[in-house]
């Protein structure tokens, strides 16, 4: 099944203890698309500027990602600059230039109308809601958000949550959104806001899938995936979006959305996140093969399974 994703395509400049990269192809929708493209067809809705050249387009093309929905606007592409020199677990934003993203009006190409999987990457909840309402055919809708929207745009975000099946956020965001420091209680409170599933990402400690209690199977609603132990974390940018791409991409590739499919999706999410952080920005995803993904999935199983 094809996934439609709406989000940012950007140029990033990052510095980490391992070095720096300038103006590289990045953005949540880019990480998500590249990651999900190893599992299923992906269609992107985004906006880029005149500095988006054939070499960036070629990255999407090489992964057979449908970019009909990427609008080309006069001006420059969204730009973000961040540093991980102080803390490899949290970026310090040095510069954000919205550029063409400031006037972004998502438009859904007719060819995307049959996408049954929709991913709302981290953008203004007003835009997320508009895309959700314009894609009534979507049978599984997942989304991301961030502290900024939780803190200053909560009413708009709450409207988005009502239309989500799955929300993917990190620990801090889950606790902030729920106003509860206990993660189990926070998860329950977030699921009361709309999504029937919540994926909480713990960075280097993996991720937890919470599911609203299923009658008759009260204890089957939580699943934990580890993070792959890496000797070198080069650049954490995009780890969460890559997780989302692996998770949702795997689900979209499945004939049936069984509990087992969600468990495997969690592992594939962790696998994709672990590849991304090995190199700068999208470098690792650009070079990755499905064989490497399946090999690491097998290692993940060995890391966590008793026998």
């Amino acid at each position: 099944m094809a996934i439609t994703v709406v989000g940012s395509v950007a140029f990033d400049t990052v510095e980490t203890p391992a070095g720096c990269r300038e103006r590289c192809l990045a953005g949540a929708a880019t990480y998500f698309s590249l990651s999900a493209s190893f599992f299923t067809d992906v269609r992107v809705i985004a906006v880029v500027g005149e500095d988006f050249s054939t070499s960036e387009q070629a990255v999407f093309d090489a992964h057979k990602i449908d970019t009909t929905g990427i609008q080309h606007a006069p001006g420059k592409t969204f730009f973000w600059q961040g540093s991980y020199l102080d803390n490899l677990n949290e970026a310090k934003t040095l510069q954000t230039d919205l550029n063409v993203f400031a006037g972004f009006e998502p438009r859904i190409p007719d060819a995307y109308r049959d996408s049954q999987f929709l991913f709302l990457a981290n953008i203004d909840p007003v835009l997320q809601r508009r895309v959700r309402e314009a894609t009534p055919q979507a049978k599984l809708v997942a989304g991301d958000t961030m502290n900024y929207w939780i803190k200053d745009h909560k009413p708009a975000l709450l409207e988005v949550l009502k239309g989500l099946d799955i929300l993917l956020i990190n620990d801090t965001e889950a606790r902030m959104l729920a106003g509860n420091n206990n993660l189990v209680l926070a998860a329950r409170a977030v699921m009361e806001m709309g999504p029937r599933m919540l994926v909480v990402k713990h960075g280097e400690y993996g991720a937890t899938l919470f599911h609203k209690a299923i009658p008759g199977a009260p204890e089957s609603h939580t699943f934990k995936s580890p993070a792959f132990p890496l000797e070198q974390v080069t650049d954490p940018t995009g780890a969460g979006d890559s997780f989302a791409g692996g998770f949702f991409g795997y689900l979209a590739s499945q004939r049936e959305l069984t509990p087992g499919a969600f468990r495997r999706a969690m592992f594939y999410g962790s696998v994709m996140g672990s590849f991304t952080v090995e190199c700068f920005v999208t470098e690792r995803l650009q070079q990755l093969t499905r064989e490497e993904i399946d090999h690491r999935f097998k290692l993940f199983r060995e890391l966590t399974h008793l026998d």
Copy 2:
């Protein structure tokens, strides 16, 4: 197989967001012994004061813990007072009175001489080393330590590490001991100091077992156990010692120390830690049954296994 444990038996006063308790039976050796007693015979080496009464003795007796090695000295038992009001993940120490512990000279009863499993709980590394040297028959030796000894008593601690098979510490301690922020590299550096295995405890995110690379099985040397998702963490005191008791107690109960036994031991460690934090100090461990332990072990498996 019986385990001998040396460490502190103490009275703790704790305050947490859930309430407070005054002068309750606690201490690393107490948590460890109670936890391990569900799996195997446990023998304690410690010192207590005149305030250690028959009601505290009864707790050990009820779990068939051999207390021949607990010395009774004039004065008061080791006392610790801590608060988790600011941060449920880290205690703020309000008071530490070493009392009789200041002059502690561990003595190993003859009846303990055949213990093949030795656990050196978190005490002065000089004492840990003395006990290790006095128990040459021990075939598996594990130990704990803390930031204070790593920071200010490193030479003595390094001597202890040479005699350990397994070290159990938390993330911060592992990174501090190795001087490396990457956990995989830190684990490797710590294992170069002596122990062939390292268990790193991640608090609410579970624990990781690192093992020196085995020739022919280079990827089989890491194992992750989750932490049980709890709706209420009442008091985190003793979680690490309870983990150690479950981990080491389970190992001591096994006929053969296979890789599978170590994996299951990690799960039992997490299970025991999760029970301890549900109630204040040792209250939960005192009331626990083996049936509850095995039930939660089964839930842990479901939380992490793909099928």
